[in-house]
Symmetry: C2
Subunit: 333 residues, 2 copies
């Protein structure tokens, strides 16, 4: 992996190698890391150079394309990539699709490029479907980064916001900083600022206060995995916001591509929750903020039960409760 | 103000000057700042060298004692100190008490020392009153630092935890980090670790997840001001936790000295909420974590409505709903 310097897209395929925007360095540095084989991509996913369920899936697809081109063992590369992040379902979905294409003897580089293009098209459909639910003047709270940076481009939750702005609506966004990894402060604030969308940064702890003040017309977040009953795993902190939204009668929307729905997963209880290192909690940008030897918990995701979700906005359409029925119906389409 | 180096108490009166443990440098450095007049103390309060409503009140009292000793204008010093932090009521209470003592011609250094001693005794009473409410085996969530570091010593919320441990109860504490100022990570985690009390650090965003997992038997926090109807101002993020506790049927306790009750303040709506600088949100330990030019909100406190509070534990006794009645009754005692 070598570092290049340039502009804005999160994932760039040169035809030979994969260039990933190093999201650990945003917003202070815009730097790309070059991945030349599947092991590079796997490492980039584990190290969170690339993050966000759809972006991880597309990156893994290009990783397998490179393994295939180089004559490496594609199945072994697939197993390594699959274990890089356990919670996101898109990763497994993308890998399965690539393995199926390999069995059919297809060109895996073309298949990965198709997935890239489809992801952006899917986000634009999510955006259109979601924008219809947003009022002409609205302040929306978002958590983590479900933006262009989390996808091949455009974004899921932030895709809905972009589509609403493109439709001429007056949208203000509150982004919470999303500790411990600060995706809200580092990525969402930066990404919306780049697009000239009105964004205000708060800490996670402030969300309740602004709900109490009646600041929010809605909440919109992404998803890492949606169970067959609508329970949704997303970045740690999402559940707290869903409880607050419910307590204040504010709509809570999840925006995600259909590939995030795991119909084989009956409910949130079956979703594995990745526990990440204590270091990401006790060190911020290399500075220690807690005493040595302290016990730390760091679940990276939580599960929001379907009953707290007003609607799930997908590229296939908008799902409403009862989700077990609406998801089953949409999966048959 | 000059810096000394030594051990653990937050506030030390040498008989001549006030030594304040520099809480901005914990947990990595244990350093005292020496204040030689009221202006030094006012600056220390504004800069958050000393923080926590009771500790601020006691520090201000020593500031006025030094003004009196030096022959400075005590009323002018009082006005300057009063404006140092607007939300905490103890500050105004302590200043009023010192001004009354000055009018009576008393020795202000002795009066300040009395307030210091009374604060610790008050905390021990809060501890005993609160410990009776805690089960023999309990995991408690706390927010910010309402500990020895926030008082003359022992603590309010952490005083209850200390008293429960002293009573032989098996107590585990979850401390949330309390962004933006990280009082939980830097102060509460350190303080409980020093005392050998079982403490686990989480980010604010994780609280909901652990409520959902049934991890908590109770929540205990301090207070900066309690209105006559029981509405309680405390560190930003407290309200979010109160909503979560209510949604999960977990008791939510406030622990504070009676001097925190502002019977002239009808409800939370009348409590001024300090808005602090954006810098504390976008910079952590001097490292920038958000893009330049981003809009930021930073209310330093929020108000938890009385209906979400299971009990308010004071040195005079335990208050229960309806709080307007129980507070009125206790203020007559």
């Amino acid at each position: 992996m070598t570092a290049l310097t340039t502009a804005v897209q999160p994932i760039r395929w040169t035809g030979e190698s994969l260039q990933l925007l190093d999201q650990r360095k945003l917003p202070t540095e815009v730097t790309y890391v070059e991945c030349r084989d599947a092991a590079d991509v796997s490492r980039a996913i584990r190290d969170m150079i690339v993050r966000g369920a759809p972006a991880i899936g597309v990156s893994a697809a290009f990783g397998l394309a490179m393994a295939w081109r180089r004559g490496d063992d594609v199945r072994r590369a697939a197993a390594d990539l699959r274990s890089a992040r356990p919670t996101a379902v898109n990763l497994g979905w993308a890998i399965d699709r690539m393995l199926a294409a390999a069995e059919r003897g297809e060109d895996l580089a073309r298949e990965a490029q198709r997935m890239f293009d489809e992801d952006i098209e899917s986000n634009r459909r999510i955006g259109r479907n979601g924008a219809a639910l947003i009022g002409n003047r609205a302040t929306l709270l978002t958590h983590c980064n479900a933006g262009a940076l989390a996808t091949a481009g455009y974004g899921t939750a932030l895709g809905v916001i972009r589509a609403a702005v493109e439709a001429g609506k007056s949208i203000a966004v509150f982004a919470d900083e999303t500790r411990p990894y600060l995706q809200g402060a580092r990525l969402t604030a930066w990404e919306l600022q780049q697009d000239g969308i009105d964004v205000t940064l708060i800490t996670d702890s402030m969300a309740g206060h602004f709900f109490q003040q009646g600041q929010f017309d809605g909440v919109i977040v992404g998803a890492d995995r949606i169970a067959a009953n609508g329970d949704t795993a997303n970045k740690i902190g999402t559940y707290t916001i869903a409880v607050l939204a419910s307590a204040h009668g504010v709509p809570f929307y999840v925006a995600a591509p259909w590939s995030t729905v795991d119909i084989h997963c009956a409910s949130g209880a079956a979703i594995p929750i990745e526990e990440r290192s204590a270091k990401e909690v006790v060190e911020i940008s290399g500075t220690r903020v807690a005493p040595e030897g302290i016990s730390v918990r760091h679940p990276a995701f939580d599960v929001t039960p379907a009953r707290l979700i007003t609607a799930i906005i997908t590229d296939r359409g908008v799902l409403r409760a009862p989700y077990d029925e609406s998801i089953r119906k949409m999966s048959d389409e």
